[in-house]
Amino acid sequence: MTTDSQTAYAALRTKAIESLLIEAGIITTGAVDDICRAYEEDIGPLRGARVVARAWCDEDFKRRLLDDATAAMAELGVGGFAAERVVAVENTDAVHNAVVCTLCSCYPWGVLGLPPTWYKTPEYRARMVREPRAVLAEFGVQLPDDVEIRVWDSSSDVRYMVLPMRPRGAEGLSEEQLAGLVTRDSMIGTGLPIAPER
């Protein structure tokens, strides 16, 4: 529970630290704005969606992505902070992958942007490793009983992204149209791509 007065105090304390760091010559006046702007305007899940759409269209790229995702994504200019080393894990009819960080909230920022709040909550971090099927159901994802759910607990500097299965009925769509079907949650593993309109 966070009260308004705690919020006001946290805001003051944050500003005090930022001000003192500027005066100490450690950071600049514009640095915090620059950083926030990059994640607000530029670095988001559209990046990962482009990677997934390319993998759906190009078998050779998909192979490179599963072999060395960091290098393959760099071909599309995707990467950066908290995506220095990325592993892509492929969903199949037999295995559904999903990502969590139980110890903090590690997430592939350079591929998907900053994580949603639920990803950082004790609820998700505690439950996803132990009862993934129940958690996925809360996200509206129902998987057949014979599918293995493989949860990746992101405990090192390697960041994981899920390569979801290409939805049925997406034949004939362009790579750009396919990217529009790739949701953020489908690359975390708590969602599936959007089914194309028929």
């Binding site: 003051l12 944050t14 005066e23 100490a24 006046t29 926030c36 139980t102 439950r127 996200f139 949860v151």
Partner: protein, 240 residues
């Protein structure tokens, strides 16, 4: 459990609080603490392992009743004071001054070179060490491994990246990952000790008897957290 942060598998938590179309930051100060922490890391005034360790030192009741960016604020202050970059007195004094003038403008300091390094971090990540680590991996894909047990962890002073639920268990190497500095050693002041990291796959049932029979959990574990399976009585690891 290594500390209040070590949540994997803990029972009793309710529904995931899913928010549709949420903003990137819910409060303007969340954006400021995010950016200030990021900029401090760029300036090498803050190291992520130490930041995590500081979060882990929050008393459990407080950890559970506060949220992500409150943890970040606590951790940034702890790390900057520990490193001698700022003093607690200076922060307290500035908070008092700002309380009477919360909209006071930030101090002015330009440094195009620093701003360029910030952009490089955002778009290209933390620079890799100039020399790749030459090391032979002890384990290979499909090797069975046993994990260490961290005894009497001291959250906030000691640090490890092996979750409690994965300690003292047997799993199989799923992937061999490039060497990374051992976080335990960094926080203990023992410097850079790069080791191979392995994505180790555990049967969920071997971790929790109530888990799905088909399901599995993969955890990235440093080489020194592991030993060959079946090599005798489980070794424990001192965290001091």
């Amino acid at each position: 459990m290594n500390g209040p942060h070590d949540l994997g598998g803990l029972p009793g938590f309710g529904a995931i609080p899913i928010e549709v179309d949420e903003p990137l930051f819910h409060e303007s100060w969340h954006a400021r603490i995010f950016g200030t922490t990021f900029a401090s890391a760029v300036a090498r005034a803050l190291r992520i392992d130490l930041q995590r360790c500081a979060v882990e030192g929050i008393p459990p009741a407080l950890y559970m009743s506060t949220t992500y960016y409150e943890w970040w604020l606590h951790a940034l202050e702890e790390c900057l004071v520990d490193a001698g970059a700022l003093t607690r007195e200076a922060i307290d004094e500035r908070v008092q001054r700002l309380a009477t003038d919360p909209d006071a403008p930030l101090p002015e300091r330009d440094d195009p070179e620093f701003d360029a390094i910030v952009q490089a971090f955002i778009h290209h990540g933390i620079p890799a060490p100039p020399e790749p680590v030459q090391r032979t991996a002890r384990f290979a894909v499909a090797d069975a491994v046993e994990t260490t047990v961290v005894e009497h962890p001291a959250p906030g002073r000691e640090h490890t990246r092996i979750p409690g639920y994965a300690q003292g268990k047997t799993g199989v190497v799923e992937r061999v990952l490039a060497p990374q500095s051992l976080p335990d050693a960094v926080v203990a002041g023992r410097g850079e000790l790069p080791e191979h990291v392995y994505a180790v796959r555990f049967r969920a049932r071997d971790l929790w008897p109530d888990a799905g029979a088909r399901d599995s959990v993969c955890v990235d574990l440093w080489e020194s957290y592991l030993r060959p399976a079946g090599a005798g009585p489980a070794a424990t690891k001192e965290t001091s």
